[in-house]
């Protein structure tokens, strides 16, 4: 990138961005966007292939895969939805209060707990999944509680991996939060729970919607944790897709994926009006 300075007086928005607008930067932008969107676009394209195997170019096009994909995957799809709703809901219930506490009370203790609560994000999913499974069996052996393969354990495991997202997003949505209103409410005699209910939570509304959505999605697409924790005969959508892939690689998989993309896109755009999801990953 060149360092030739334009004269100070001629600076407008476009020139100010000039160095980032140069061909080099544009090439980076384009390559980045291609890397992200190419596989998605190709998945949509493949879902219309007529052939039984995915070969490029296709012999013809059809919508038949959409028709057959739903009956094939309906049961795992429902399991995944139920799981993601339960895990997302519980994760909000546990995560939002934690987020509030972490942003309000900052000391060594809460800092340590904050690190702990964000830790599930940093650990390989496959290792947590295996460890929880073996741990559940150890506990079951001593307590006779039917833990291994129970829905409760699966939901809790998903809560574990979604909590860091809820907390991250809540913390982000509270960074610019003005404590003055809270202090005013408190000085007027409102009890702390009432302050949270009446002042803090409404101020966090967007953050809560966004984090609930993220929790739902992280749970919905999780493969590694569920792999070991599903009960016999139960399957989630990502597991069902992986198992299907082991025996067949046909456009059916693409079709169910497109339906998934469209469904998620629809929810996103519906929520997008009142929650700035773009800010969430901070």
């Amino acid at each position: 990138m060149s360092d030739t300075a334009p004269s100070a007086s001629s600076l407008g928005l476009t020139e100010k961005l000039e160095w980032l607008a140069r061909p080099g930067a544009t090439a980076l932008v384009v390559s980045g966007l291609i890397t992200v969107f190419a596989p998605l676009i190709l998945t949509v394209y493949v879902s219309f292939f007529d052939d039984k195997v995915i070969v490029f170019p296709p012999q013809g096009y059809s919508l038949a895969w959409y028709g057959s994909s739903i009956p094939q995957f309906i049961s795992p799809l429902l399991t995944s939805l139920k799981l993601a709703l339960l895990a997302g809901g519980l994760s909000l219930l546990f995560g939002v209060p934690a987020g509030i506490a972490l942003s309000r009370y900052r000391n060594r203790g809460t800092q340590g707990i904050g690190t702990l609560l964000l830790a599930p994000l940093t650990i390989p999913g496959i290792a947590i999944g295996l460890a929880i499974y073996v741990f559940a069996i150890t506990v079951e052996l001593r307590t006779e509680l039917p833990l291994a393969g129970s829905m409760a354990l699966l939901v809790l495991a998903h809560v574990l991996i979604t909590i860091p997202w809820v907390i991250r997003i809540c913390l982000a949505s509270l960074t610019n939060h003005d404590r003055v209103t809270e202090e005013a409410a408190a000085s007027l005699g409102a009890s702390p729970p009432r302050v949270i209910w009446r002042v803090t939570l409404p101020a966090m509304r967007n953050g809560i919607v966004a984090s609930g959505f993220f929790a739902f999605i992280i749970s919905f697409e999780n493969l590694e944790i569920s792999l070991f924790l599903v009960s016999p005969g139960m399957s989630t959508l990502p597991i069902a897709i992986l198992q299907y892939l082991e025996y067949r690689l046909d456009p059916l998989i693409a079709a169910i994926s497109v339906l998934q993309i469209v469904g998620i896109g629809a929810i996103l755009f519906a929520l997008g009006n009142f929650a700035n999801l773009g800010r969430v990953a901070r």
Binding site: K16, L17, L28, S31, T43, T122, P124, P238
Partner: protein
């Protein structure tokens, strides 16, 4: 991750009230993490000191042989090096592609902005398994890239079962995280600062490196660390794009657990992977943010 800065507290009574409130709010989440993460990890740690027997499978012991086996066999250290190289290079490309995209998005004024932001969120929600299928169509023997290359007379070009293919696949998955984080980081930097710098005669590039970059660095580190961690732990992409001859840590430990039923060694692999990731992120934070603090 940004939880520093203790607020001074006026009185003891208030401090006690805060403690009660904080623990009431934090206990449920902490309990879940303690039971579902800390306890299983401790069990994993214990198992990593057990011994493997091909018949009885796991024998209680207190041996370090699983760790010495890892460090004594070039195969395992090679797999770890591959994993780190893939994670570092995919993170570097995520930064390289992500920053210009995030910067333009952040400074972009348009009524379409919200829709475009949502479009950037969408890919996060398509599982890595599904996205790998898209790459297969592009990369494979009869795939788009190869077809284009042969018709242009460039010879055959397949990225399936190559390190490059895996890195591209991982970038594709991690880049949206990077873009979204950096976008909000850049938006948090006052545009007037840049203008002020430039009106004082700084070249735009100079204004960027002196004003925007230092302010964006902490947030950028958070994004880069997230991408690095996700890449270190990648499971579906290396298996589906990399193929049987491409080995990374997460699939290796899964294989060791399921195919070999060698729990002690699989546990050791898991802990070594976690420790490596943790040490590298802490070091990077110290090195990069520490240098900035001194500067």
């Amino acid at each position: 991750m940004t939880l520093a800065a203790a607020t001074p507290l006026p009185s003891d009574r208030r401090e006690k009230g805060h403690l009660a409130a904080a623990s009431a709010l934090l206990t449920p989440a902490t309990a879940v993490v303690a039971v579902m993460l800390v306890a299983p990890l401790l069990l994993l740690l214990r198992m990593s000191f057990n011994r493997f027997d091909p018949t009885k499978l796991m024998v209680e012991a207190a041996t370090a042989e699983n760790y010495t086996r890892f460090f004594g066999d070039a195969y395992y250290t090679d797999v770890m090096i591959t994993t780190v190289v893939v994670a570092l290079s995919s993170t570097a490309f995520c930064l390289l592609f992500g920053f210009p995209i995030a910067y333009r998005l952040a400074r972009w004024q348009s009524r379409w902005k919200n829709a475009v932001m949502l479009l950037m969120v969408l890919p996060l929600f398509v599982s890595s398994t599904v996205r790998s299928i898209g790459w297969m169509v592009l990369f494979s023997h009869g795939g788009v890239i190869n077809l284009a290359a042969t018709s242009l007379g460039l010879g055959t070009m397949t990225l399936m079962q190559t390190t490059t293919g895996v890195i591209i696949g991982i970038i594709s998955i991690n880049l949206p995280y990077m873009i979204l984080t950096l976008q909000s980081v850049v938006e948090g930097i006052d545009e007037n600062l840049e203008q002020a710098a430039e009106s004082l005669g700084a070249a735009p590039a100079r204004a960027f490196w002196r004003i925007v970059w230092p302010m964006a660095l902490p947030g950028t580190m958070i994004a880069a660390v997230l991408c690095f961690i996700l890449a270190m732990n990648a499971f579906a992409t290396p298996v589906l794009i990399g193929g049987p001859r491409f080995h990374m840590m997460a699939p290796l430990l899964y294989w060791e657990f399921t195919a070999n039923n060698n729990w002690p060694f699989a546990s050791a692999l898991a802990l070594i992977l976690m420790t490596t990731t943790l040490v590298m992120t802490v070091l990077a934070n110290k090195l990069i943010l520490g240098r900035q603090a001194r500067a």
